[in-house]
């Protein structure tokens, strides 16, 4: 692999961490669940779903204008107490829900925000044939 033009300025091991990150310069929360190239699937002014360039599966998201959300709802309205770390954290799920409330209701937005909150492979989903009797249309 050709040398990277920034390699001389970095130290330690290259790596990957699937963890939400607040990018202060961009005022956005970024979350990659897989270490691979992504293509943007823009849902609305705030939410972009990251899709794998190779498989098109959702592999994370970017939530923009975080300070605007915080100023509207207040940190206290989005904070949760971490029992493990014994400190107050801002809930990314609460920020996502607040962002969802700001936009017009639509099936595309609802599914995209649900996907950002809980990816389909998460156990918090139920096989469709256990709920829907005849067609998917009944569920939307």
């Amino acid at each position: 692999m050709a040398e990277h033009f920034l390699d001389q300025y970095v130290e330690g091991e290259k790596g990957f961490l699937a963890e939400p990150w607040y990018n202060a310069l961009g005022d956005c929360i970024e979350y990659h669940t897989a270490n691979e190239a992504v293509v943007a699937d823009r849902i609305d002014e705030k939410l972009t779903i990251y899709r794998s360039v190779t498989t098109n599966k959702p592999v994370g998201f970017k939530l923009k204008d975080v300070q605007a959300i915080l100023s509207r709802y207040g940190c206290a309205g989005l904070a949760v107490m971490s029992l493990e770390q014994n400190k107050t954290l801002i809930s990314v799920a609460a920020i996502l829900l607040a962002a969802y409330e700001d936009g017009p209701p639509s099936i595309k937005r609802r599914l995209a925000y649900a996907n950002a909150l809980l990816p389909p492979e998460n156990p918090f989903s139920i096989p469709v044939d256990r709920i829907c009797k005849s067609s998917l249309r009944q569920t939307v």
Binding site: M1, H4, F5, L6, Q8, Y9, V10, E11, G12, E13, K14, G15, F16, L17, E19, W21, N23, L25, G26, D27, C28, E30, H32, N35, E36, A37, V38, V39, A40, R42, E45, K46, Y50, V53, T54, K62, K64, D65, A68
Partner: protein
């Protein structure tokens, strides 16, 4: 071995004076070092950032709904890293977008599907950016 926290300056077109001298965009240390440690494929694709800043095809202004300003430089790099040690020719149906603050600090970069009417712009650019301020004629 690293030389400590150094912002990287990359020459690019000045969108406010496209025919004038080039300006320096900044790739901040905290942005690229974070990518190196925790998002290594994204770090590899800083190569595409450099390529796009050197040779942009479109420059847009006004990239956010709730804040003024910001720039989006768009181009077609030659390659894209799709995994840690795996690269491919840049996908023909995509463009590469580099997002900068009003002060020309790079804060994000990502592949986007190209627009149906202009294959050198990101999809639905008219709804997303305030204005197209410069486009390449070559």
């Amino acid at each position: 071995m690293g030389q400590g926290p150094v912002n990287y300056n990359q020459e690019t077109i000045d969108p406010t004076n496209p025919n004038g001298p080039r300006i320096e965009a900044i790739i901040p240390y905290y942005i690229y070092s974070r990518a190196y440690k925790y998002d290594s494929v994204k770090y590899e694709n800083l190569r595409a950032v450099k390529e796009v800043l050197e040779n942009p095809k479109r420059i847009f202004w006004g990239i956010r709904a709730y804040s003024e300003g910001g720039w989006c430089y768009v181009g077609k790099p030659t390659e894209l890293y799709i995994k840690e040690n795996e690269k491919t020719d840049f996908p023909p149906n995509m463009v590469f977008a580099v997002y900068l603050t009003e002060k020309y600090e790079v804060f994000d970069w990502i592949s986007e599907y190209m627009d149906e009417e202009d294959n050198l712009s990101p999809k639905n650019w008219r709804e997303r950016y305030r204005s197209l301020v410069w486009l390449s004629t070559s």
